[in-house]
Amino acid sequence: MQNLAIKVSNLGKAYRIGLKEKKQETLAGSIIAALKAPLRNFRKISNLNKLQNQDGGDDIFWANRNINFEVYKGEVLGIIGKNGAGKSTLLKLLSRITEPTEGRIEIHGKVASLLEVGTGFNPELTGSENIYLNGTILGLTRKEIDARYNDIVEFSGIEKFMETPVKRYSSGMKVRLAFAVAAHIDPEILIIDEVLAVGDAEFQKKCLGKMQEVAGKAGRTVLFVSHDMAAVKNLCTRAILLQNGSITYEGHPNDVVDYYLRNAAMIQNDTAGVSFENRKGNGKFIVTNFEFLNAAHQPVVVLETGMDAFLKVSYKSLEKSPNPVVNILIRNSYQQIIGNLLTRIAFPGVLKLAPEGYVLCHIPKLPFLPGRYTIDIMLKHDYDVTDQIEGLTIMEVEKGDFYGTGKIQDSMKDGLLVDHQWQVI
């Protein structure tokens, strides 16, 4: 047992589907119903929080199942996976917020978890009052906060506003203060959910730096959920991938991130895939499939900002085309067109196509910020629209290191990055 920090065996967490709705079960309702059908109804209500239900168990949903892993002291474990994969549930189990349905967790050392920034902040209280409130909520004692108070204030960078009620803070200031407290908990085991997604980029950098510092300290262990693939690669010593509540891949962060980006389609069915529902055109020259590929020409479902990407359009042509045109439109979440990729202009010379095959559109450095983008496509013969599909697929982009500087711009979502360099003469 070399310096075990966390050992998770056969861990599972089941939720009753519809629990959230059923919890609205009212006392009056249950009394009235109880008068009508006393025994059955009592069972139903009291089973609301139990899982051994009599009716076969189809209304049980396993948010986590058969999870086994170990974390050793000094490791930084990255946890990645799509929305709904069960990452937050796992962290909640580890931080004792909710109880496992099966399995066992063994934790060596003091844990602090940060599933949200600024939990318990009260807008009426001043900055310094909130430092004490939030600090004790996170498990510090008054003495411990006294000792760290100056560091916290300095880290936040808003010294001047310590006696101002937090309701007068900008949202950025609130995040800064909350992070400053969180960054100073200094436990043996730190559990962090996707909290770095908020806050301005520069301050995030500072927090990541602080995290690195924590991770670097002898024996400190960090568990870290993120959609920021670059951060996972840079900070973590090991990573696990969660799919549908279970670990499906584990290893070096680079490998896990790679695997994740390549296999996200199989991982969750919430990826739209390709949909030909909204289709118009004369049908003489049509799209048969569409895929995103990485630099090695392997299909991927999630892209990373800055990556070397290919869009692969498979087509079929019913008659020999006089002058085929392929046009891909990229829309942001407001449905505004932010990218128009078209052969007519970007392809040198005249496009000549076989009756059936595919074309590749190479984007050497994917300029899109993290977010979900809609892809529309249009195929033409000259000016005749042969196939036009709106909402063909969704392009999902995760954070990545666009400028190759190790720094990431994520104060914006859903936009474009301009490739550029700075020169100092």
Partner: protein, 281 residues
Amino acid sequence: MQKEPVVIIEPGSGIGSMNLKEVWRYKDLLYYMVLRDVTVLYKQTVLGFAWAIINPLFQVLIFSLVFGTLAGVKPDISGMPYPVFSALAVIPWTYFSNSLNLAGSSLISASAIFTKVYFPRIIIPLTPVFSKLVDFAISSLILAGMMAWFKYQPGHNIVFVLIPVLLVVLSSAGLGFWISSLSVQYRDFKFALSFMLPILMYVAPVAFPATLVLEKLGNTAFHLYALYPMVGAIEGFRTSFAVGKEMPWNLIAISSASALVIFISGIWYFKKMERHFADLA
């Protein structure tokens, strides 16, 4: 070297492990939660302090008019004017009802916190039980004012005053544990509570002396009556300001036993339900 803590988490191990050590470790959190409630209340309303007085004061005025003057209820304490007599009940009652109301809905209002952070959840219903003590203290100014006005001077029973106060605190904490955990599961429990509280007030010896029950219903009923913890608490509080009247120790004993049962069973039920709070809220 210090032995490092090892925590085992398993189904049924109880997430909030309500051992006293754990709650004690978080005592500063309780302190800051109480401080938050008090600060926020008195920061938000200009009349913050005044509200703690105005509310019970009006109640005393109405009671004095309706029960004291119109219905002619007589205090069973010689020399004590009816307004003082009713203020001595209205003030602990107001504390009981306010703290219970807040404790009862405390888990629902705090769900955003306890679904994100671990700490012993029992701190949540305990917070209003403590923070409302500040209102209790402030509203006691009414008592001081009235006694000065009526030139009423308490006797040496006053040394016992903290015993009934403790009894009220124990009762509202115990019931607070029950009601807060029931409210997480049954969302309309708070309506049941707001329906019950006025009834509980008229049942309690607020407007009339508890000895009225002894007179009208006999000895057995009188002692059964004391199973309602507010009976011993109010009678005890009132008598600790009386002159020449023995403290009602038998009532206080019965009420304390009953409050203790509610308190301990409340902790038991809270602990039993605690593991589901985050999933239900």
